[in-house]
């Protein structure tokens, strides 16, 4: 059983922010009036919070205003907003923000899919590979066989490996963080290679969670300097996921003949700019 002071102590911050209901506000107020210990905590809060919000406390160094944009000024004009990048799998270029589906069933098709990573890998782009453990290992084996050193790329912060281990909400946050980190590290563009297949571990939160993840990924990537290819293993992915996830949540599909606008993509927000010439 918590003492009255312990209970009140937990509420003082919310009391200060006026985030308590009126009954609890009154209870805290009443207790604080009669308890010197809790009152000193609240007095300290009020004083400290009042002081640190003062904008004069941390003045901007002289001249910083003009230096603040120096990293943007250093960008070559043409480089600053990447509009299209080579796909790597086919000879097409694709717009930034594209979320593409690539179905594979043979090893040769898998290896072709991994080529998506190569155009900027180790240069000015950052690559993220995501999926179940077996797929991540397979992608890195293919990269190694093609002369890349995944361990070194990870160390140089040119490659991020994200394991599929959590529900969509957490996964999308982890993906967002990885992209932010890559851009903060100076990457000009991010390539994201997702892998969906049924490995040894089950899907972290079921099939509907995969659909949620795909939908959230489309929204997240829409205007980022980023292109996403989702490789679906048609040998192991259930039919419903192939259709609802593979076909309905990706605006473009990568076929052997090239990149096509996906006619099954179910988005009210698809625009002409997302289509490939």
């Amino acid at each position: 059983m918590q003492s009255r002071c312990e209970q009140t102590k937990l509420l003082l911050s919310d009391y200060l922010d006026q985030m308590l209901d009126s009954v609890t506000m009154y209870a805290v107020e009443t207790h604080v009036k009669s308890c010197a210990q809790c009152r000193t905590v609240l007095d300290g809060f009020r004083n400290v919070v009042g002081l640190v919000k003062d904008e004069r406390l941390i003045p901007m160094p002289a001249g910083l205003s003009s230096r603040l944009y120096s990293k943007i000024d250093e960008l070559p004009k043409k480089m600053e907003l990447v509009e299209e990048v080579p796909l790597g799998i086919t000879g097409d270029t694709v717009p930034a923000g594209s979320h593409m589906i690539y179905f594979w069933q043979s090893n040769a098709e898998f290896e072709a899919g991994v080529q998506f990573l190569y155009p900027g890998l180790g240069k000015d782009e950052h690559c993220i590979i995501f999926g179940h453990d077996e797929a991540l290992e397979h992608v890195q084996q293919v990269m190694s066989a093609n002369g890349y050193d995944p361990a070194r790329l990870i160390q140089d912060r040119k490659l991020t490996v994200l394991r599929r281990h959590a529900p969509a909400q957490q996964t999308i946050a982890e993906i967002g963080e990885a992209i932010e980190r890559a851009l903060a590290d100076g990457a000009r563009f991010v390539r994201f290679l997702g892998n969906l297949g049924i490995g040894l571990a089950p899907l972290p939160a079921g099939e509907d969670d995969v659909l949620e993840l795909e939908a959230k990924a489309t929204a997240l990537m829409a205007s980022l300097p980023c292109v996403v290819v989702c490789m679906y293993d048609v040998r192991t992915v259930p039919g419903r996921l192939l259709f609802k996830g593979g076909l309905e949540t990706h605006n473009l599909s990568v076929c052997s003949e090239g990149v096509k606008v996906n006619p099954f993509y179910a988005s009210a927000h698809a625009t002409d700019s997302q289509r490939v010439n």
Binding site: L12, D14, D17, M19, I72
Partner: protein, 195 residues
């Protein structure tokens, strides 16, 4: 207190396409009112002035690169704060130490209010920075957003991608610890732990 920065500076509908098309001047005009906020956030999350400047520049670069995602209804101030957090996290090494779930405050005989004038001294700045550095990083982010930048608790939760309950708890813990750290620095008379 000084005049507060604009609370919400929604992206002007007319300037959005221009800035998206690469208009740097338009971008500067949008960011300019928030420059002090960017620096305050950066200073609070970094180790010193030089790294704060670097972090501010990095955050502005991130905001520029990501500007395409900004829509007309959202606050550019919040978007810029998100970028400072993201840039700071990119450079932050996570500690292996477990983050405590709560903080037990010390008890003081009475709280001697620190006057506003004290808060603008270099000594207090240094004390505050030490207090911030002593916080677990998650608590530090929450405190900086809520109390130093005056975002609402809901906005803090959005920026930190937490639920509101957790954000409230982090803010509460951080306030308790910062209060104690500053109390020590300013020689408040401690009489032990809170009952």
């Amino acid at each position: 207190m000084s005049a507060t920065a604009p609370r919400r500076n929604e992206v002007n509908q007319d300037s959005l396409p221009r800035v998206r098309a690469g208009d740097r001047e338009g971008f500067r005009q949008l960011v300019a009112p928030h420059e002090p906020m960017i620096y305050r956030a950066a200073w609070s999350l970094s180790e010193g002035q030089e790294s704060a400047i670097e972090l501010s520049q990095q955050a502005v670069l991130l905001a520029w690169r990501d500007f395409g995602r900004c829509n007309s209804s959202e606050s550019i101030r919040q978007r810029l704060a998100e970028k400072v957090i993201a840039a700071a996290r990119a450079g932050h090494r996570k500690s292996d130490a477990a983050v405590p779930s709560e903080y037990v405050p010390r008890h003081f005989e009475a709280w001697q209010d620190l006057p506003e004038a004290v808060a603008r001294t270099a000594e207090f700045r240094a004390d505050l920075h030490r207090a911030l550095t002593a916080l677990p990083y998650e608590w530090r982010e929450a405190f900086v957003l809520r109390d130093m930048l005056s975002f609402t608790v809901t906005e803090c939760a959005e920026i930190l991608q937490l639920n509101v309950e957790l954000a409230r708890q982090l803010i509460s813990n951080a306030r308790l610890q910062v209060r104690d750290e500053l109390a020590t620095a300013t020689r408040q008379q401690s009489v032990g732990g809170c009952q």
